[in-house]
Amino acid sequence: MASRIPSDLLYEIFSRLPIKSLFRFRCVSSLWRSIIDDPCLAYMQQTRCAEEPNVLVFHHPGKTTDVIFSPEGRLSEASLRSFSKFVTLKGYNLQCICNGLSCFTKSSHGNESIVVLFNPIRKQVVSLQPTPAAYPSRRPSPTQNGLTYYGLGFDCSKNTYKIVRVFDDESNSTAFHGEVFTLGTNSWRAIPKDPPCRLFGLPVFASGNLHWLAYPSDHDHVDEQGHHHRVGSKIVSFDISKEEFGLIYPPKFRWPGCLLDLNGNLAIVVVDCSMLRPPHIDIWVLKEYERKDQWVKEYDIDLKPARTCFFFNRLAAILELVEFDRVLLLRCPGRLFFCDLKTGRVRQFSIPKLCFGTEALCHKGSILSISGFQKN
């Protein structure tokens, strides 16, 4: 007796399948195709199925962008090549990568008003030019020299993606504002309440919120060797559904932490490279998002061999951490480290072009179909 499995269970099953299987099963039936093409499934699958091969993009500010594929690259060659080509195109500025979508801005007549989204897995490119936001009084203009921070996240309640950007106000140097654009609509919308602090670095999308570290404040920590460390004492969050900024306080560390998306949850990674003890990594995860003080230490790892980790000492202030299945990548000038979270073993790769200020972005494949978002 063939009782039908209800759709909601099909979503659950599909979210645990790898992308290759999902693409193949699109031709099982029209119902299956519609579920597999549903943005909600793409998001569920991305957070649950941790085995998709990743691509690392190194963005050397003002210079070039390099793309490195994961050592176990099981992704189709065509997708990877198209990614490489696209990412190194002139005039396109890679802003962020979230949930498998790369978000670029393209200059048009001197201002970056065109947003380009790219999903290499689906080989889809969507170019959007939302109209500027309407403001009750004078519209703030972004400073030409300041950084605009972009973030991209999935809104489950609307079953679509939203792009957020935060920029400094040109006429008021202490002010910064946020705007949001819902894919499928036509224009940017002003976010009524400004972010609580300046943002820093790349965003991490987890638990329905975008997160950035707060820009280092004046409260720097000075350690025994006289080195200054940023103390990442605050995290700025943006609720993608309510469209509101908030603040989260992570546990206090001696060392600057770095944000990470660990299976859909917000995590903060702290590397102890003081050489006062064996090199060590702690990873704290916010598992129950409503209880913002409930950070759980998920990993507590000594790194080996200690000799390799000697270079951690010269990490300078910036660490980018991304997750590769269960391997974390750390980088410092000129070198890239793979760290296996299970064993603590560290392997290093020399990448000469890696320099101070290079941003490392990690791309994790998503089955999301974005062609529907293209207007006109």
Partner: protein
């Protein structure tokens, strides 16, 4: 199968003082189930809590569940509770925790190995009806593992699905991602 096929009465396997609840399946099976196990079935739990009083041996009819499925569900949930208790007892001792985890994984692997595709599907429907979150998650993961590298034909047969695409439509979808059809397990 680990348990025998059909029992008309399955006695509660535990201490004499444990309260049991009688469950009757739609095909005439009667089971005396330990209350802690039965309370894992959220559909029963809410029924008890709504009523607001303690039940003795009342018989509850489960309209969408057959004997074979229920006996498997009871087997899994009983062991799951045992593992839960062992896990709690081992808390803090990394080696002991690992042992419990491995024991549990071994039991789950054996449990699912014995299930035919048809049985796995029927179990999912039963467990979905009974609202047992942990077991449902386990079964869903098991189905995903069974179908993950299989062909379209296999999957259609597994879920008993009729293809509603025309040959041209199906061909086009195939072309869109031809790479996904390579290296698939033979049927």
């Amino acid at each position: 199968m680990a348990d025998d096929g059909v029992n008309t009465k399955v006695e509660a396997v535990s201490k004499a003082t444990t309260e049991t609840i009688e469950l009757r399946t739609e095909d005439g099976g009667v089971f005396d189930v330990d209350k802690p196990v039965a309370m894992e079935f959220l559909i029963l739990k809410s029924f008890y809590e709504d009523e607001g009083r303690v039940f003795d041996k009342t018989s509850i009819r489960l309209p969408n569940v057959k004997q074979l499925e229920l006996s498997k569900v009871i087997e899994y949930c009983t062991r799951a509770l045992e593992f839960g208790a062992k896990s709690a007892a081992a808390a803090g001792d990394k080696d002991a925790e690992r042992m419990v985890r491995q024991e549990r994984e071994g039991f789950e692997a054996e449990f699912v190995d014995e299930l035919s595709n048809e049985m796995l599907k029927e179990l999912i429907l039963a467990v979905n009806f009974l609202d047992i979150k942990e077991m449902l998650d386990f079964l869903i993961r098991s189905v995903a593992n069974r179908i993950r590298n299989r062909s379209v034909a296999y999957v259609r047969q597994f879920f008993d699905i009729e293809n509603d695409f025309t040959p041209q439509e199906e061909d086009q979808i195939h072309q869109e991602n031809a790479w996904a059809f390579e290296g698939v397990d033979a049927d």
